[in-house]
Structure formats: structure tokens, C-alpha cells
Symmetry: C2
């Protein structure tokens, strides 16, 4: 098995990723992007029966909505808030003097109304809530968004900026649990088409601090999160490339999302780590597209 450093070096040498000098932040080549596009289309094809409404959000979201979501309670260190300069000519001269002297200029920035999107579905819940009571069959949405997580790493499969494709289901507990089961089946079908080794496991989010350990245990005990793991830079520690999450009534309560019967809605989502799956393809089928199995190229229209 290649190490993180070897695999990263291979990706850079073959011109699939471009270094920016910051760990976890890369430019992508045309082939890398064509693979992401092919994967996106394949996911759409396999989501056919969901009748999902497609909504596209920018990589940033409302700070007020973000504060309300509870993300800072669970993952404070991963979040990114956006700050801007709001001073006059004199303050600008001071800012430039800081830059010139290589001093810290961050104190001259003020927090804005915008934060970076931590997971594709976060901006969606307030939209769903704003539409009022949902139809009897519930709701399903399709999203693809750039997400940000502040976790600089040498592992190319742990990027700070990456794309997450999601389907999000809202409705009764029965509806969303059935949806999640169907997503696991479809996810397995996709990964099999891509001829990638995988296994499915119960998982937990990386909740912060001592209180977070309890939340993680609870999440595992209740099997709220499953992950499809594929070895990329380690056989021992394979990478979560797809995740299947049952949020119970967490977002329904936070946003007041209501089912047709006026009950608090339950929600579930499936998330595809687009960069991670793409990296798994280059890891298992090689850096040269010409050497990939014919079936995989066909599945991705490559």
C-alpha cells in the first residue's frame, strides 16, 4: 500500500492535482474534473426514482442559519467564518503597513454575515422550513456543493475544500429510514460499477471535546451513521467515501420542518465525497486513464 506522501506525490507528478502550498487545498486537472463530472452523472442516474428537486447553493451560507444549526456545538474547529475589512483610508494604510511588515493583519477583519458551507445540506433546511407543511409523500432534494472543513492534512483524501453530492429526504421516520436503506443499496451498486473495494460500517462523526465522546457513542449505538469505506492511502484506515445519515428530528426541530400531519419532520441524507471517490479511482485503477477497466470508463463516460 502506498503511503499518504507517496500517493500525493504520484497525483502531483501525473498532473492530476496541483499544489497550492497549503495542505488540503489543490487545483484539479481536466481529467480529474471529467471524472468528478462522470461520477456526478452516475449518481444522478442512480437517484432516478427519488424524484428529487435539485437545488444549488454557493460555497457559503448565512451565518445566522449556521449558528442555529448547532454545528459550532459539535464541530467548532472545522467551521470557517468569513471576515472582511470595513475600514477607511487610514485603516487601509495600517492594513497595508501590517502586510508590508509581515505582521498579523487579522485583527483588521470583521466577521461578516456569511460562513463557509460545512456540508451540502446545511443551507437546505431553512428553505424546506420556509415552504411550510410538506406533502404526504414527504420531500427529496438533490444537492452538490463545495464544502469547507478546517483540517489541514497531508492526506490528499482529507481536503479542506471539497465537493459533496447529497440526496436529502424529509418526512416521517419511516419514510426517511426506508430512504436511507435504499441509498445504501444504490451506493453499493455505484461503487461496484466503479470496481472499487469497499465495506460498509457503522460510524460516528468527529464530535468535539469530552462532551463529544458521548454524542459519538450515542450515534454509534443508535446506528445513525453508516459509512462506505474504501482504502485510498491506507488499508488499515480506509477512507469514508459515502455516508448515510439519519438525523432523527434534529434538523426538523431546529428549523420547525413539519410533515403533512403537522409532526416534526425526520430527515436523512446520503453524501458522496466526490474528491474521495475520484481519488479512490486513481488509487485502484492507476494514474493513466488508458489502463482503467473498460466497464469503469463506460460507467463514467470517460
Amino acid at each position: 500500500m502506498q503511503t499518504q506522501e507517496d500517493y500525493l506525490a504520484g497525483l502531483l507528478e501525473h498532473g492530476l492535482l496541483f499544489s497550492t502550498g497549503v495542505d488540503g487545498l489543490f487545483g484539479r486537472s481536466a481529467l480529474f474534473e471529467a471524472t468528478v463530472d462522470g461520477l456526478n452523472a452516475l449518481v444522478t442516474k442512480h437517484g432516478d426514482g427519488f424524484n428529487a428537486e435539485s437545488v444549488t447553493y454557493p460555497p457559503s451560507m448565512s451565518r445566522v442559519d449556521f449558528e442555529k444549526s448547532g454545528y459550532l456545538k459539535s464541530f467548532p474547529g472545522l467551521a470557517g467564518s468569513i471576515h472582511s475589512f470595513a475600514g477607511d483610508d487610514r485603516a487601509h494604510r495600517d492594513l497595508l503597513a501590517d502586510l508590508e511588515a509581515k505582521r498579523d493583519w487579522s485583527g483588521r477583519q470583521k466577521i461578516t454575515d456569511v460562513v463557509l458551507t460545512p456540508a451540502a445540506c446545511y443551507p437546505l433546511y431553512p428553505l424546506a422550513a420556509s415552504r411550510g407543511q410538506m406533502p404526504k409523500e414527504g420531500l427529496c432534494f438533490s444537492l452538490c456543493s463545495w464544502c469547507f472543513r478546517h483540517e489541514p492534512s497531508r492526506d490528499p483524501a482529507r481536503m479542506q475544500a471539497f465537493r459533496q453530492r447529497e440526496y436529502v429526504r424529509m418526512g416521517t421516520a419511516e419514510q426517511v429510514v426506508a430512504f436511507r436503506a435504499s441509498c445504501i443499496e444504490r451506493g453499493e451498486a455505484i461503487v461496484q460499477l466503479l470496481e472499487l473495494p469497499y465495506h460498509l460500517d457503522v460510524a460516528n462523526d468527529p464530535f468535539f471535546g469530552r462532551a463529544g465522546k458521548m454524542m459519538a457513542n450515542n450515534q454509534r449505538d443508535q446506528k445513525l451513521k453508516f459509512e462506505m469505506l474504501i482504502p485510498i492511502t491506507s488499508d488499515e484506515h480506509p477512507t469514508a467515501c459515502l455516508s448515510f445519515n439519519y438525523h432523527q428530528d434534529h434538523f426538523g426541530l431546529a428549523w420547525g420542518i413539519k410533515t403533512a400531519d403537522g409532526e416534526v419532520a425526520h430527515t436523512a441524507c446520503v453524501g458522496f465525497g466526490m474528491e474521495r471517490i475520484t481519488l479512490a479511482l486513481f488509487r485502484h485503477h492507476g494514474f493513466e486513464l488508458a489502463n482503467w477497466p473498460a466497464g469503469v470508463r463506460q460507467a463514467l463516460a470517460l
Copy 2:
């Protein structure tokens, strides 16, 4: 002519954009995105002869590279820096107490190594420089990136988060000036295919402060920037939807980019405001795709 508020209300009512509660930050519908995709493909088709290398960057870039670019000198108020929490359990409790009490929690965030990309081409220059002296014919790149500018506005055509498609040319002054002229021709051909009213004009960037006025005048006098203006929310103040920029040796000097002869490279770029052109299409052809001219739908494969 519709006012900004009328046009925004129409976009929201017809479900083309979704409000996030923050000015200049919107969700996009499937039709809006299909239009952006069609436009992107149309731009690619018209860039055929450029032999451009396609590179895709995330919505964020290296802070060190950003500091070096000079952006904070010219547009400090538009920039967005990304800040994260780096504290322990106790600091986390304080953060949550701030949130609970609706106090300002921004002081608990520390600046990271990452800032938001202000224009699609900013992360590209260090990549080009890292490749060393360029071939005789120079270089051409194709980019499409989410950009951020902190300028909250009620004008839907002035978003904080938007996509910019760019072609960037690097080489001798003659090469990049000829490229820019060719981009203006191609840009006109695209906008004519889309049956949008437009005019071309000399322009200047919104440089900051008193010193910025001189820079703006200089930019206009030397005709370094042209814009293709299309009325969207005002006939009097049409919106810059495409821009054609000759940077002279600004980026070449900043990054040490060299031509085949070892001279400092000149650079030029054309930028397509993907959301702005899309908004212009809905403004001039109506909110209902069925009513659009057949030629426009055909050009966009809609």
C-alpha cells in the same frame, strides 16, 4: 424597466433563485443551473482555438499567495478571509455561551491559511510561475471558479458568491493583446447568439479609497479594461457581464512568470460572469423557458 426589487421578487416567485436571508447569497434552481451549464459549454465551444489547459480551483486559495497578489491594496473591502476556532474544551464552552447569549463570538476565531478566491485567475499565477519558462507560443488556461466579494446588495446581479468562467493568456505583450482582441470578438458572438442587447465600453475596477481613484483613471486612460454591458436591473446602469482585462506585467512581476525569451510575461484574461449572463437571459427572454427564442434555447441546449 423593472427595478432591482421587482426583478428580484420575480426571480424568487418563479423559483429560479431561493432566498437565504442574506443579500447577494442565493440558492439556484435546476433551470437556473441548466442555463449556467449551457452557457459554460457555449463558452468552451467558442474558446476552441485557444488550446487552453483546463484547471479547476476550489472557492478558496492560499492566504500567502493572496497577500502577495496585491488584492488587499486595491480591493480590501471585497476580500474575505477564513477564520476558525482553535481552542480547547473550556474555550469551546465560552464560545457556546457567547452563541447562547447572542454575543459577538468572532474574537474566538483565528485567521487560517486560506482566503476566499476573489477572481477565478488568482490561484493560477503561482502555478504558471512554478512551471518555469514558458514555450514560445505562451500559455492559455481555462478556469471556472466560485468567487467571493463582500458587497451585500439588493441587486440580484451583484452577488457575494458567484461563478466566473475565465480564459487567461500569458506571454509577450503582443500575444496577450491579440488574445484580448480575439476574446472581444468571441464574446460579442456569444452574446449575439443569446440575443441579448449589449454595448462594449472602456471601464475601470472599483479600486479602494483616494489612491484608488488614480489607479482607476490610469486603467481607463490606458484602456486596460473593457466590459460588455447588458441591462439587467437598470437601463441607465447596465451590468458588466463580460470583462476583458490586460494586466500588463502586474502578475508576471508579482510571481516571476517568464516568457520563452526570459522576459517578464504579460497577462490578459476574459471573464464571464455566469450568474450575471444567466440573469440577463431571464430578464430579456422572460422567466418561462418555453417563451425564450428558439435560437437561444438551441445555443444553450435547453
